[in-house]
């Protein structure tokens, strides 16, 4: 089964059945590919599905310029769909306007991204493969576990190559804030050479902590090949372990950070019983 043919067939069907007025996907252009909004079923012959390129952020952007009743279909990998779900939960996208055409990633792609869930909820093209556990990867473990001093030096060596190009922030599907705190001199000193990197990367990493969908767009975009996704892995594992929460998998459940321990309890904490009146306590 050819993933490209299946994807084209699914896209054509969506347009012909009127489920959406346009399909956002990749198309061959020159020597490479470029994102394109396919509105004519005849154009779909030029649709391609390689390489991995996240379309969730583009979808958010173009929906603002399209008419209000426009329904957009998006060729989504697992991470694209998770990003779209998170954006819908945070009111950045209208769920009624998006139609997802699911693409499953290959084993090589899953391994390259250290992806635990390389498939969307409904797959129209591609074969579903098992996710990869990032804690089993040798290189990732040197950044996540082991001696603290060595880990600190490893991270410092990687992060000091950062030139603050803002590529990670620009390509992240979840980074949609206007104004962005990373452009504020108070939080991330502007114009300093070399730049202060603890504040930039840790502030960004923490802002995304409960929303990061582990798509890897940040490290794909980084011109210095800094392994940015590894900053989030431990926090995602923590959220899974304490609250059973994985960002992007549930359209209804909001992040556990937004509620009390009474609604989203954590196994480590007990709330002491309080009485409201002295009478009850006697």
């Amino acid at each position: 089964m050819n993933i490209r043919e299946d994807a084209r067939r699914a896209a054509r069907k969506v347009l012909e059945q009127g489920k959406a007025q346009g399909v956002l996907g990749l198309r061959e252009a020159g020597d490479g590919v470029s994102p394109h909004l396919f509105e004519d079923p005849g154009d779909i012959d030029s649709l391609v599905v390689e390489p991995k390129w996240l379309l969730a952020k583009l979808a958010t952007g173009i929906l603002k310029d399209l008419p209000d009743d426009y329904r957009l279909a998006v060729m989504c990998r697992g991470c694209d769909e998770r990003a779209i779900v998170e954006l819908i939960k945070r009111n950045q996208l209208d769920g009624a306007k998006i139609h997802v055409i699911g693409l499953a990633c290959s084993q090589e792609q899953a391994r390259a991204c250290l992806c635990t869930r390389p498939y969307p909820s409904e797959v129209a093209a591609g074969d579903v493969v098992e996710g990869v556990d990032p804690f089993q990867d040798e290189r990732a473990r040197t950044f996540l576990e082991g001696d603290q001093r060595e880990r600190m030096i490893r991270w410092a060596t990687e992060l000091k190559r950062c030139v603050k190009c803002y590529g990670c922030r620009n390509s992240c599907p979840i980074c949609v804030c206007v104004p962005c705190k990373l452009e504020d001199d108070l939080w991330v000193g502007r114009g300093e050479i070399p730049a202060d990197l603890i504040s930039f990367h840790l502030i960004r990493a923490f802002h995304l902590s409960d929303t990061c969908v582990a798509c890897g767009a940040c490290q794909d975009a980084c011109p210095e090949n800094i392994p940015l996704m590894l900053l989030q892995i431990s926090m995602r594992a923590f959220l899974m372990q304490e609250y059973g929460y994985e960002a992007g998998t549930d359209r209804e459940r909001r992040s556990p950070m937004l509620s009390d321990l009474t609604k989203e309890p954590s196994p480590g904490y007990e709330i002491p019983g309080w009485v409201d009146s002295l009478k009850d306590s006697v």
């Binding site: 992060l159 705190k181 070399p194 603890i198 900053l231 926090m235 950070m257 709330i271 002491p272």
Partner: protein, 175 residues
């Protein structure tokens, strides 16, 4: 006849100054200066504990500043990160008991957020021991003092956070 009160006063003053300078020497003998910390204290419970510790003259570590906030949930994790980037060795966030926040369990959210932040600090190598959270210091000044003393004890074991910044700037990490 009893010694003149001026002598007693001078002796007490010298004794106190010696004790203070020995403290400073004790703090700085390893690194040249003691660890510095910022403590965000919720004004309804933790600040009262801090005040009480001061009034009752309990032994407290040096080199920390208390910043009163309305509620522990007011503290943005970004402020904590920024403090580390400025070279502050440790940050504490002290709030009310978990069932006793007057802002409708806002301290629950602070607790969750800070637990998550601790994970990030651990990953990057700054260390989760640099962030102190305590949600139970209420009017209990001796507990405040004990918590802070323990925190500083831990901080003295870590290298000063400037080393993180220096490791970034130099080629210490190559190879």
């Amino acid at each position: 006849m009893a010694r003149c009160w001026r002598n007693r006063f001078r002796d007490a003053w010298c004794d106190m100054s010696n004790r203070v300078s020995n403290e400073i020497k004790g703090n700085t003998k390893k690194t040249g200066r003691g660890p510095k910390a910022i403590i965000f204290a919720c004004r309804w419970c933790a600040l009262i504990g801090a005040d009480g510790a001061g009034k009752n003259r309990v032994q407290l570590p040096l080199n920390f500043r208390v910043i009163p906030v309305e509620c522990a949930a007011r503290v943005e994790p970004d402020s904590i990160i920024r403090a580390f980037s400025y070279g502050i060795d440790g940050v504490g966030v002290l709030g009310c008991h978990l069932g006793g926040c007057r802002y409708h369990n806002a301290n629950h959210r602070a607790l969750k957020r800070l637990d998550l932040l601790r994970k990030l600090l651990d990953t990057v190598g700054i260390g989760s021991g640099r962030l102190l959270t305590s949600f139970g210091t209420a009017h209990e000044y001796h507990q405040f003092a004990a918590i802070l003393n323990e925190f500083f004890q831990g901080l003295r074991e870590f290298p000063p956070i400037d080393e993180w910044a220096r490791a970034q700037m130099t080629d210490a990490g190559k190879g």
